[in-house]
Structures are given as structure tokens and as C-alpha cells.
């Protein structure tokens, strides 16, 4: 009986307590820099696309919401012909970001992407691409990779020695 009265009293004391509600549209919540929200495709510092269309993100995706088609430009540089993410399926797990070898695909602290039509949640490459390097400034895959493309031979990448001349007898 006393415990009932006590309960009533303690609940009444909540009248004077601060409310915990965040009044969302007026008052935005804090989102951590690593928050897993809307997915973007970043560019390298020179403005080229980072994505090399390796398909690893599409393979890693547990809900198969990423679709892309690889192609090559005249320099032999791989890039996606189309890159499509269906955000009505995406579960924002971040596996695509973990799988990406070139830091191209990244998740950003933004979740306000509601739409009235489901079809509008399918983002194409031009919707995904941003004009910046995202979380990894200064990184350019083609400058550190030992892959030969037009305009860059083997051994010309940063921190890379020239290939060994196998015909020479010198050490």
C-alpha cells in the first residue's frame, strides 16, 4: 500500500524534471563524423572518379542494393559505366565502404532522404558522385597503385621503385 503511494509520488516528481525529447525538425541531433548515412561516391584530389568498378561493394552488400557496370576509358583506366544504389533496400551497414579498395564509396552523416515515391530512392551515379575526396583528402589510387595506365607507366607511382630489369645481371 505504501509502495503504491510512493510510486505515485515519484511519478509526480517527474513534473519538475527535464524532458528528454529532441524536437527533431526544429532541433537537429548531433551526428558523429563516422555516422552511417547516405552513401556517396568521392573523387580523388585531381577531380577524377575514385571508383574503379571492381564490384567488391556490390559483392559485400548483404541486401544486393548496389548495381554497376565496369568500363575503361581511352587510357585503360577503369570506371563504372553506371553505378546505381537502391536506397529503399539499403540497410546502411557500411560493408561497401569497408570493402572498397580505393576509398571511393563512403557513408555520410545524413539520413534525411525521405521521398514520396519509392522510385525516387534509386540513386544513379550523378546523384551519388560528390565534388570532393570525402573522408580521405589527398588520396589518389592511381598515383600509388602499381598498375599501368595511359600517362603513367609501371614504377612511376609515388613511393614506388622502377621495375627490376630482369635482363640485367647487376644486383
Amino acid at each position: 500500500m505504501l509502495s503504491i503511494l510512493k510510486t505515485i509520488w515519484y511519478v509526480f516528481l517527474h513534473t519538475f524534471q527535464k524532458r528528454v525529447t529532441v524536437q527533431y525538425p526544429d532541433e537537429k541531433p548531433y551526428l558523429a563524423p563516422r555516422y552511417r548515412g547516405r552513401i556517396i561516391l568521392s573523387r580523388d584530389p585531381d577531380g577524377g572518379e575514385r571508383c574503379v568498378a571492381c564490384n567488391l561493394c556490390a559483392v559485400a552488400c548483404p541486401v544486393s542494393c548496389i548495381a554497376l557496370q565496369a568500363t575503361e576509358d581511352e587510357n585503360g583506366r577503369r570506371f563504372p559505366e553506371f553505378f546505381r544504389i537502391n536506397f529503399s533496400r539499403c540497410i546502411f551497414c557500411g560493408y561497401c565502404e569497408e570493402a572498397c579498395p580505393t576509398y571511393a564509396i563512403q557513408l555520410t552523416p545524413d539520413f534525411e532522404m525521405g521521398e514520396f515515391h519509392r522510385q525516387n530512392l534509386v540513386y544513379e551515379k550523378e546523384d551519388l558522385l560528390i565534388n570532393g575526396p570525402g573522408k580521405y583528402p589527398g588520396y589518389n589510387f592511381w598515383r600509388v597503385a602499381g598498375v599501368q595506365i595511359g600517362g603513367k607507366d609501371k614504377g612511376q607511382a609515388a613511393h614506388e621503385a622502377a621495375p627490376v630489369d630482369i635482363h640485367s645481371l647487376l644486383p
Binding site: 503504491i4 510510486t7 505515485i8 515519484y10 511519478v11 509526480f12 517527474h14 513534473t15 524534471q17 527535464k18 524532458r19 528528454v20 525529447t21 524536437q23
Partner: protein, 316 residues
């Protein structure tokens, strides 16, 4: 002591009661939110007050569905009964001197009789829905309301003994010296608990217990029929709060402020207290409810009656 303009009182009390009952939806949500450290509805209009209007418009637009397996006439009749009985009880309620629809000399008995009739609404709704959850809810309501009505009436007899009248304005006038809550504290507590059970509100909301019975007796109701149960419940809360005010807290009596303000203040205090109880107390099990009613409350009410009777006899 009836009003010089009877129609004005009728319209005033009807409009007032219905407005308060509708406003209670907002008040309850805001207060529950306050006690749970939330805000509640605060978007529509100032302080979310227009939420009631929005809800009202919505509930009128809803499909008025009668299930094909229901007992149609009874199904339609049931929600009307609760509205009629509760609204009729307001007829004998003295709001302020002169503001009363009908000063019946058996006013208190009239209120008790109508609250007994209100049981029919719930029982018939549960029965005619032809749904096992609704039927269980109706059965629980019948058992609960009949057992709690017994000592509800008995707990008020002390007040009647002290005032020497069944007429509600006479009871208020008899409290000029001292509010009946002091000599009749036990009666007040008993009536409060019985009133809670009578309005079927938490912690005594077993008839609609949403965690066990979907929505109990009004599982099958939708649209404005459901709305009538809802308004009936809030009217019941208003009525019981007003009855507590009239019977135990001196009705309109009070210094400085005009009588009607005192009456409304006291009534709102008890309405808020009812909502506080809903915010804080869990629901008892059904057998606990019944044994509590018959084994504790009924004997206490009888003791209260006998002691009060002896006191009145000794002092007169």
C-alpha cells in the same frame, strides 16, 4: 434553487461537459508525457490544443464499420447508452449556486443509478461484438463494475448521514463549516477507488486491458462509435471528479474566487490526479481486483457507515 434560465444551464453544462471531455484527450496526453519526461502533442495550434480538433475531424471521417458477425442493433445501441447515462448524470450536478439543471431531492441516488445503467453499455458492447476478446472484456466489466458499485454507494452513505440529504446542492451547503473529506476521509478514499473502477481507467482498466484483450469490449468498434466510448470514458472521469468535489471537497465553496471557478479548479485537480494514477500504477490481476473489492473495500465501507452512524447518533 434551480436556475432562472433553465435552458441556459442545460446548454452551458452540456457544452461545458463535452468540451472538457474532448479537452481531456489533450490534457491526458500532455500530462502523461510530462510525467514520462516527454512533450506530448505540441504541434497543432498553441500547445497542441488543436490536436483535439484534428482528432475529431479524423474520427468523423473514419469508416463506420459494423462487423458482419455482430448483433447489429445491440452493437449500434451500446455506445449510445454510455453517452446517455453519463450525460444524464450531469443533470443533477451543482456547478455553482443556481447553475444546476435539476435539483432532484434524490440527486445522489440518481447518479448512482445511472452509473449502474452504464454497465449495460460495456456488457452489451462486449456481447454484441461476437468476439471472444470483447466478450471477455464485457464479462470483466460486468463483474468489476457490479462489485465496485456496492461499496461505491455504501461509501457515500456517510456523507448522506452527515448532510442529512440526498440532494447534491444540500450536501454542498452542509459543508460550509468543514469539508466532508475530513470527517469522511475513509469514505473519500473508498469512493475514489470505486470511482476509478467505475470509469474503467487504469489501474482498473481490466475490461479493455490492451495488453491482454486487444481493446476489450470495444475491440470491434471504429469511427465515431469508438469515439463515443472514448468520450463516454472521459465524461465519466469528469463526472467522478466533479462528484468527489461536490461530496467531499465543498463543491463551489471557497474564498475570494467566484464559485464556478472553485468548482472547476477542484474538478481539474481530481482529473489530473486520475491521470497521475494512470501514469504511475500497473494493472492488478483480475482475481486480485475482485478479492480486493469484496474482502477489503466492502467491509471497510460497512465499518465506515456504522462508525459514522454511531457518531451522528451520539452527537445529535
Amino acid at each position: 434553487m434551480t436556475s432562472p434560465y433553465p435552458m441556459l444551464s442545460v446548454l452551458g453544462i452540456l457544452f461545458g461537459a463535452l468540451t472538457i471531455a474532448a479537452g481531456l484527450i489533450w490534457l491526458e496526453r500532455r500530462l502523461l508525457a510530462l510525467w514520462q519526461d516527454r512533450y506530448g502533442p505540441n504541434r497543432v495550434g498553441p500547445f497542441g490544443l488543436l490536436q483535439v480538433v484534428a482528432d475529431g475531424v479524423k474520427i468523423f471521417m473514419k469508416e463506420d464499420w459494423v462487423p458482419p458477425f455482430a448483433d447489429k442493433p445491440v452493437f449500434i445501441l451500446a455506445p449510445a447508452i454510455i453517452m446517455v447515462t453519463v450525460l444524464m448524470s450531469f443533470a443533477v450536478l451543482p456547478v455553482a449556486p443556481g447553475i444546476i439543471i435539476s435539483d432532484l431531492n434524490i440527486g445522489l441516488l440518481f447518479v448512482l443509478a445511472l452509473s449502474s445503467l452504464g454497465v449495460y453499455s460495456v456488457v452489451l458492447a462486449g456481447w454484441s461484438s461476437n468476439n471472444k476478446y470483447a466478450l471477455l472484456g464485457g464479462m470483466r466489466a460486468a463483474a468489476q463494475m457490479i462489485s465496485y458499485e456496492v461499496f461505491m454507494g455504501l461509501s457515500l452513505m456517510g456523507v448522506v448521514l452527515l448532510a442529512g440529504s440526498f440532494s447534491l446542492p444540500a450536501i454542498v451547503e452542509a459543508q460550509r463549516k468543514i469539508w466532508f473529506v475530513i470527517p469522511q476521509f475513509l469514505g473519500f478514499v473508498l469512493f475514489l477507488i470505486a470511482g476509478l473502477a467505475e470509469t474503467r481507467r487504469t489501474p482498473f482498466d481490466l475490461p479493455e486491458a490492451e495488453s491482454e484483450l486487444v481493446a476489450g469490449y470495444h475491440s470491434e468498434y471504429s469511427g465515431m462509435k469508438f469515439g463515443m466510448f472514448f468520450v463516454g470514458e472521459y465524461l465519466g472521469v469528469t463526472l467522478i471528479s466533479a462528484m468527489i468535489t461536490v461530496l467531499f471537497f465543498g463543491g463551489w465553496l471557497g474564498p475570494v474566487l467566484p464559485p464556478i471557478v472553485w468548482f472547476l479548479l477542484k474538478t481539474f485537480f481530481f482529473i489530473s490526479f486520475f491521470i497521475l494514477l494512470r501514469a504511475s500504477l500497473p494493472r492488478p490481476r483480475f482475481d486480485q481486483l475482485m478479492s480486493w473489492g469484496w474482502k477489503v473495500m466492502l467491509p471497510l465501507a460497512l465499518v465506515n457507515l456504522v462508525v459514522t452512524g454511531a457518531m451522528v447518533l451520539a452527537w445529535s
